[in-house]
């Protein structure tokens, strides 16, 4: 079995989120869901530490995908975000990539492709966390070295 990824699914299409969530859980991933950008930000307040990747629909009422993405990246820069987009919103997808999204998928997305991208995003996030840990450890080491 592959490594379990903490995924937050955000889409105003509840049935879609529910079914995709069940499928991802079947694959052994930990899934949380939100049906709007606002709800996603609220959920992350609680769960950002156990979330690796956010899968975010671009077209939502209220906070749209790109705005939600920006808010997420501002608060939790290490969280990776994969955008889901329709064909006509490629421009927003490009805007999303510029705002720091990991990648985007066209809807309806191929499940295999989504799994692959989730794993790539998860890996990137873990590598960055590892680098940060090392950097901090180095800093701590130097400090303690200076004290000695």
């Amino acid at each position: 079995m592959s490594i379990s990824i903490g995924v937050l699914l955000v889409d105003d299409e509840r049935d879609f989120v529910e079914m995709l969530g069940l499928r991802l859980e079947e694959e052994g991933h930990r899934v949380a869901t939100a049906f709007s950008g606002e709800a996603a930000l609220g959920a992350l307040e609680e769960s950002h530490e156990i979330t690796d990747v956010v899968v975010l629909d671009l077209k939502m009422p209220g906070l749209d995908g790109v705005e939600t993405l920006k808010a997420i990246k501002e608060r939790w820069p290490l969280l990776e975000v994969i955008l889901l987009t329709g064909h006509g919103t490629i421009d927003s997808a490009v805007a999303g990539l510029k705002s720091g999204a990991f990648d985007y998928l066209l809807k309806p997305a191929d499940f295999g492709e989504l799994l692959e991208k989730l794993d790539q995003a998860r890996r990137l996030k873990w590598e960055q966390e590892e680098r940060m840990r090392l950097a901090e450890a180095k800093l701590m080491g130097r400090r303690s070295g200076g004290l000695l």
Binding site: D15, R23, E26, G86, H87, G88, K107, P108
Partner: protein
């Protein structure tokens, strides 16, 4: 020089005719000869002439009768009548019947040649006007079609988006069921088989619906391109306005010297993009106090739009690479290296070309050379959104 169809010279006096034909021939005007009206009509049916020079008084079919026939059957042919000195009436009658003009005999060669030239000019002008009218008709038909397509495209895109969402739900539900089915060891072989069959049918159906929505969306995108009459001076001023800030910030000057009422047929959005790219490049090439100038002029049936700067210029070794995608000499973050390759792509589509001339230290001139009227692509309304018959299953 333009190659003309031979002039038809009709006169019953053989000696006069031969002499005149020889003299015209010496002046580069090819002549076919006929001895009377009947012979003239006979020759016209074999070699329709653009210009006919015809005596009025001839035995058999006279000039005026032949003129009537010619005007009835070859309306674009111009006829110059030759009349006797005292026979102005014949000339006037001929003019009423549609003759181009009349000349009294004896014929003054220079006047006759001048008349032939005038008649040919009138023909050329008329042909140009006809081509213009036909082109306008084609374009307006195309624009009406484009508007219909655009409306249809918006509708199609909306429908496709709305269908994609439930499609995604069906697709995910099917996928989930499939996984569960695979994991459940307790199912009877019959139930498993039935389930798998049903799921494969759902998958095929979803795939088909997906194809349709993608085609609808592709169809919606295809209507972006439109050819219409573009006011080039207005367009150039828009470009100046759009990059005014950039110019001011760099202390440079961007001006358009495009004469008012300069028109061509093209896609205004594409053309604006091209000028914008060239003007921005020009501004980046000049230092403070530099100058970028947009001019336009006609060259035959082409329109040449030039964007000239007095900036740093482009070294020879870079000149052949500047149209390559991602080629840039600008610092990271200041240029994508796509401006010129995108511009060239657009100009290509518009049936034109881009030329560049540059000298290091003196500046560069980019010339966009466009047909005043691009070829109008055939209407593809009959094809419908599914793009031909190959997917009509």
């Amino acid at each position: 020089m333009e190659k003309h169809i031979p002039v038809l010279l009709v006169d019953d006096e053989t000696a006069f005719r031969d002499a005149l034909a020889r003299r015209l021939d010496k002046r580069g005007i090819e002549v076919r000869q006929a001895g009377d009206g009947e012979e003239a009509l006979e020759l016209m049916s074999q070699y329709p002439a653009e210009v006919v020079i015809m005596d009025v008084r001839m035995p058999g079919m006279d000039g005026l009768t032949a003129l009537k026939h010619i005007k009835a059957n070859y309306p674009s042919t111009e006829v110059i009548l030759l009349t006797g000195q005292a026979c102005t009436d014949d000339g006037v009658a001929g003019m009423k019947l549609g003759a181009f003009d009349y000349l009294g005999k004896p014929v003054e060669l220079e006047r006759l040649i001048a008349h032939i030239d005038l008649a040919r000019e009138r023909l050329t002008r008329r042909r140009e006007a006809e081509a213009e009218a036909e082109f306008r008709a084609q374009v307006s038909e195309r624009m009406a079609a484009a508007e219909r397509l655009a409306a249809l495209g918006t509708l199609a895109a909306g429908v496709a988006h709305e269908i994609n969402n439930p499609l995604a739900i069906i697709s995910e539900s099917r996928g989930w069921l499939e996984t569960r089915l695979a994991k459940d060891a307790g199912l009877s072989p019959e139930t498993r088989k039935a389930g798998e069959l049903a799921l494969s049918k759902i998958a095929a159906g979803v795939e088909r619906a997906k194809q349709i929505t993608h085609q609808l969306l592709g169809f919606a995108r295809r209507t972006d391109w439109e050819v219409r009459e573009v006011d080039l001076a207005g367009l150039a001023n828009e470009v100046v306005d759009l990059v005014k800030k950039t110019a001011e910030n760099s202390g440079a000057e961007l001006i358009s010297k495009v004469e008012p009422a300069t028109h061509l047929w093209s896609d205004p959005h594409g053309l604006r993009q091209v000028l914008l790219n060239l003007a921005t490049n020009g501004l980046q090439a000049v230092n403070s106090g530099g100058r970028v100038e947009i001019t336009a002029g006609q060259s035959g049936d082409r329109m040449v739009i030039a964007v000239r700067d007095n900036g740093v210029g482009i070294p020879k070794e870079n000149l052949k690479r500047i149209f390559e995608p991602f080629f840039t000499t600008k610092p990271p973050g200041q240029g994508t290296g796509l401006g010129l390759s995108v511009s060239q792509g657009i100009v290509d589509k518009l049936g034109g070309s881009i030329e560049v001339e540059s000298k290091v230290g003196a500046g560069s001139t980019f010339r966009v050379i466009l047909p005043k009227r691009p070829p109008v692509a055939p209407l593809s309304l009959e094809q419908g959104p599914w793009g031909g018959g190959e997917e009509a299953s």
